[in-house]
Symmetry: D2
Subunit: 322 residues, 4 copies
C-alpha cells in the first residue's frame, strides 16, 4: 500500500466545503440540552418536533448540532455543505451511480434540500448547499460585525463544530467511500501489523481532518464515536476540564495531546450517553495539496499519546448506541 495513493489526486474535485452539522440522538433530551447550553455554552437556535437546534458562537450557519430525542443515543446523520450548487449536483450524480444513495430531503430548519446516502458501514451522510446563515437576535448581536454571534462567556463557550468521529466495523470501505464518492483527502491513518486499517483521518478543508473513523473492536456497524467542538486555546481547554469537574460531567480522558494529528483533547460524556470532545485544532493546518498521508504503525501507537498518556481502553470499545 502506498500512503501517497491514498491522498486525493490533485485534480480530484474538491466539492465539499466543510462539515456542516451533526444530528445526535439522546434518550435524555432535557439533560443533554442543559449540558450543551450551560456546560458547552452553546445557543439554542430553534426547535421542531423532537429536535432542538444548537450552535457555537462562531458557527456561521443556523445550527451545527441537531439534538433529537430517541430511545438510544447515537448519530442520526452527519452533513457536509458543498462548495456550490454545481458541486452538489456532481456529488449527487456520483452517489446515485454508486448505489449508496438514499435520496433527496426537503431540507430542514437550517438548510435547503439535501441528498442522503448510506456509508459502507451504515452511517447516514447528507450533503447540501443551500443554507440559512445565522442572523443573531439583538440580544446576541456581536460587537464586531465579522462574527456570527456574541461570545457567550458561559461554560466552555465552544466556538464551532470542528469534526466528527465514527466507529466502523471495517475502516477501509468508509475511507474509500469518503475519498471516491465525496472527494475527501486522507491525512493520517493507523495501519495495524496485519495490514488492517485501525483508523483514518480525512479532510475536505485546510483543517487536518474534518472526520475520523476507527475500528469498532465490538465488530458492530454504524456506530458513533464522538463529535468535537473547537475552543481557541489549550488554556481554555484546561479551563473546560475545570468546568466539567465542577459540573459533574464525566471526563473520560484528557486534557492531553494526541500523537495522531497533535490535537489537544478533552473527552466528556454528555448526559444522553454520547461522547463529546472539545479541542483546539486551528494552529496546525493542512496547506500542502499533495500531502503524503502519515501512516502510524501498531508499535508506534502503543507508545500512547504525545506526552505518554496511555489511550484509555474505553476509547476502543465505547460507542453509541451502546
Amino acid at each position: 500500500m502506498s500512503g501517497h495513493s491514498m491522498s486525493g489526486s490533485p485534480e480530484t474535485p474538491r466539492d465539499l466545503a466543510h462539515l456542516g452539522h451533526v444530528e445526535m440522538l439522546t434518550p435524555r433530551i432535557e439533560a443533554s440540552l442543559a449540558f450543551f447550553t450551560d456546560v458547552f455554552g452553546m445557543t439554542e437556535a430553534g426547535r421542531e418536533g423532537q429536535s432542538v437546534y444548537l450552535r457555537g458562537w462562531d458557527d456561521y450557519e443556523f445550527a451545527s448540532l441537531k439534538l433529537t430525542e430517541a430511545p438510544l443515543p447515537g448519530l442520526a446523520h452527519v452533513a457536509f455543505r458543498t462548495w456550490s450548487r454545481e458541486a452538489l449536483a456532481r456529488r449527487v450524480a456520483v452517489l446515485e451511480a454508486s448505489g449508496h444513495g438514499i435520496g433527496w430531503t426537503d431540507g430542514d430548519m437550517g438548510h435547503g434540500p439535501s441528498y442522503r446516502a448510506h456509508g459502507p458501514d451504515g452511517h447516514v451522510f447528507e450533503i447540501y448547499f443551500e443554507t440559512r446563515k445565522y442572523q443573531a437576535p439583538d440580544a446576541l448581536k456581536p460587537a464586531l460585525k465579522n462574527q456570527a454571534q456574541r461570545f457567550p462567556a458561559r461554560g466552555m463557550s465552544v466556538r464551532r463544530l470542528d469534526h466528527l468521529n465514527l466507529l466502523c466495523s471495517e475502516v477501509e470501505p468508509t475511507r474509500d467511500f469518503l475519498r471516491d464518492q465525496l472527494g475527501m483527502r486522507l491525512t493520517e491513518a493507523i495501519v495495524l501489523d496485519s495490514g488492517i486499517w485501525g483508523g483514518a483521518w480525512m479532510t475536505a478543508t485546510n483543517k487536518t481532518y474534518d472526520i475520523a473513523f476507527t475500528r469498532d473492536h465490538s465488530g458492530r456497524r454504524g456506530r458513533f464515536h464522538h463529535v468535537t467542538y473547537a475552543i481557541d486555546s489549550r488554556e481554555e481547554i484546561l479551563r473546560a476540564a475545570d468546568i466539567a469537574l465542577e459540573a459533574g460531567v464525566p471526563i473520560e480522558t484528557g486534557p492531553h495531546k494526541h500523537a495522531v494529528q497533535q490535537t489537544f483533547f478533552l473527552y466528556l460524556e454528555e448526559p444522553g450517553g454520547n461522547r463529546v470532545e472539545v479541542a483546539n485544532t486551528g494552529a496546525r493546518l493542512m496547506l500542502d495539496p499533495d500531502w503524503e498521508p502519515v501512516i502510524w504503525t501498531e508499535t508506534e501507537r502503543k507508545k500512547g499519546q504525545a506526552w505518554g498518556l496511555k489511550t484509555v481502553e474505553s476509547f476502543h470499545t465505547r460507542g453509541t448506541p451502546p
Copy 2:
C-alpha cells in the same frame, strides 16, 4: 458596489493552494539573519548567492522566507503554490493572456519552475507547483512524525508563514488582479466614504486571509507593508512581546486585537527596516464557500482596533522601501 459580487463565484477555479514564500530584501543581511534565527526562532535551510533561506518549524516546504541582501529593504517577490500542475498551467494561461505575465523561471533552491507576473501596482507575484519538501537533518528531526521539524524552543519559535501585506497606490486593481487572475476570494475590506477602497483582505485557503493590501498614503507604487508568521496562542504572542523587549527589537504596535479579521497582532521592525508581524490566526477559519465580504466603513475604522487601541500613524505611512 455589492460586497457579494466581490467574492469569487462558487465555481471560480480554486487553483492556488497557499502562500508559499516571500523574498525580502535587506541592506543589513547579517543583522536581519540574526533577528530571524535568534529572535523569530527560524531555522536556516540553505544559502545561495546573496540569499539565505529560512523556515518556521511547521513550514512543510524547504523555506518560506528568502532573505536577500540589497541596498534597500522591501519585497522582491511573493510566491503562491498552486493546487496541481494543471492548476499552474491554467493560471499561467490566464496571466499570459492578461498581459501581466513576466515569464518562467528555472526555479530556485526550494522549488521547481515558476511563472512570474507583475501585479497592477508593480509587485512581483510568482506561482509554482513543484516544490522541495523539507527533510530535517537528524539534529532537527521531530519526535512526532507528522511534523516537519523539531520545535526549536528558541526566541519566538514562529510556526509557519501566515500572510503578507502590501501597500498599493490604489487597492482596487490589485483586488481585481488577485480575484480574476489568481482566483482568490475577498473576505473583508475597508471602503472609504469617498467610495475609494482603503484595504482588502483575500484568501486562497480556509484561513480568513493569505494576503492583504492597503492604500499607500504616500501614493507610491509597489511597496511592502509586512510579512506575518503564525504563533499558536495569544499567550505566546504576549511572550513574543517580552522577547522583543529584551532583544531591543522596536515594537511598532501591539500586542492587541485587530477589529478587521480579529487577528491578535504584534508588529516589529527587523534590523533591515522591514515590518514583520507575529500573529495567531488559526482559531477563526473561513469555512463558508459563499461568504459575503465584510465591508468596514471609514467611521467604523476610526474606532480603532478591537479593544480600542488607536491605529498608529506609521501604519499608514511606513513601508519598504522607505
Copy 3:
C-alpha cells in the same frame, strides 16, 4: 532619599495578613451589581441596608467587595485583615497613639469588630481579625475541597480581590502612614525629577503589592483610583477584554503590561463610574525580605508601559468621586 530605607526594616512587625475588602460607592447600584455579577462573574453573598456583598470564587472570606448605594461613586473604606488578634491589638495601639484613629466598629456582615483610621489624605482604612469564612451553599460547592466556591464559568470569572489603588494629593504622607502605622513594605515607586513622589506600591504579603497610590493631578484629597481582581492567566485577561467589548463596558486602556510591577492589566469603567481592573499578578512574587525598592524616574516613566503603550491621560486625572 535612599530607596532602601523606604523598605520595612526586617524586624518591622508584619501584622497585616492581606487586603480583606473594599467598600465601593455607586450611584447606580442595580447596574453596578449586574456588572459585577454578570460581567466580572462575582457571586452575591448577602445584602444589608443599601449594600450588597460580593465575592470572587477563590476569596476565602465571606465577601471582598461591599457595594453601597450613594450619590457619588468612590471608595467608602478599605480593610486589611491582621495576622492575629495580637497583631490587631498592636496596630490599634499604634494608630490610637498616632492620632489617625477613628475608633472601633461593631463589625459587619462579613467580619467581626474592626478599627478604623483616617489615612493622611482622608481615605478610611480599617483593620480587623475576626472574620467569617465563606461556606458555599450546595449549589456553589466546589468539586475540590481546597477551594472556597465552585468556579462560576460566567463572564470574566474573577478569582479574588487583588489590590487597591488610591489617588492622593501627596504620595509621601500615605507612604509613611502605611509603612509606620500599618507595617507595609514599599516595593516600587515613581519619584519625579523635582523629588516629589509620583506613586508608590506597597505590600503586606508576598504579592509585589497590595495597595498602590499615585499623585492626583487635580490636587484633590482622598479619591479612589481603582480596585483590581485577579484572573489566573494573561490569556483569560485577553478574553476578559472580548467580554467587555461584547457587554458594552468601556475599556479605558489595555490589555497591556505595566512596566512598573510588570502587571498584565485591563482597565474598565463599571456602570457606577468607578475604575476597575482585572490583572494577573501571581507569577511574579516578592520573596526577598530585604528587597531594595525599585525607583522609577520621570524619564523612565515617559517611555510608557512595558511594550511601549503610552499611558492614557485619563489615568492621571480621572478618579472617583469625579
Copy 4:
C-alpha cells in the same frame, strides 16, 4: 487530630522568608548541566569544585540550584533564607536546643554563613540570611529594571525555584520539625485510614506550599522526591511538555492538575536520575493567616488527580538515591 491545631499558631514566629536553594547530586554532571541549561533554560551563575550554580531568570539570589557531582543522585541539602539576622538567630537557638543542629558553615558562593540541621528523616536543612543578590552581566541585563535577569527564551525558560518534595520513612516527625523548629505552616495533608500520615504540604510564605513530603513506600530514610521550578502559565507548561518530548527527556506524568494544592504539573527525569517538576503555582495563594489545613482521606486520594488521571505507581516508589 484536629486539622486546625496543625496550623502554626497566629503568633508563631514567621522567621523563614522563603525556600532559597537546593543542592542536588548527580552522577552525570555534564548531562545534568546540559539539561538544566538547554531544556530548563536556566543560567549558569558560577562553578566551584565539583559544583555548578544555576538560576532561573527571576531568582533574585545568585543561584537557586547547586548541582554537585556525586556517585548517586539525590539531595545534598535544602536551604531557606530567613526573614532577618534576628530571625536566623532565633531559629538557630531553637535548632541547637532541639538537638537537631549540625553547626555553622562558612557560607557558599551564593550566600553568607549558614546553620545546618538534620531533619528527623535525615535530610539536611540549612538556614541563612546573608545572601548575594544576583547582578546580571551586561549580556543578561533585563529591559525592565524590576527583574533580575533577561528572559532567556531558551527551552522551558523556568522562572524561579518554587518548592521541594522529600520522601520520608514517616511523615509526622518531619511535619513537627518544620512546624516547631522552623515555624512553617501546614496547608494540606493526606491522612490514611490507619491514621498514618501519607503526605504533608507546608509553607513559609503566601505560596500554598514551599515544601512537601510524602511517605516512602520503600521505608527508606532521607530520600529526595523532586524539586520544582515555576513557569508562568499552564500554556507554557504544555509547551514544556512539547520541549521535553523533542529533547528526549522522559516524562513521568502530566501535564495534569493535582487535586491536592491544584498545582498544574509536569514531572520529568533529568539525566542524573533525579525527578524534577515544572509547575505554575502563583495563581492560588495562601492569604488566610489561620487557614484550617485541608486533610485528604485515602478514599479521596484514590480518585486520582483533579481531572481523573491516576497517580502513577512510580510516584510512590521512585526517589533518589534509587
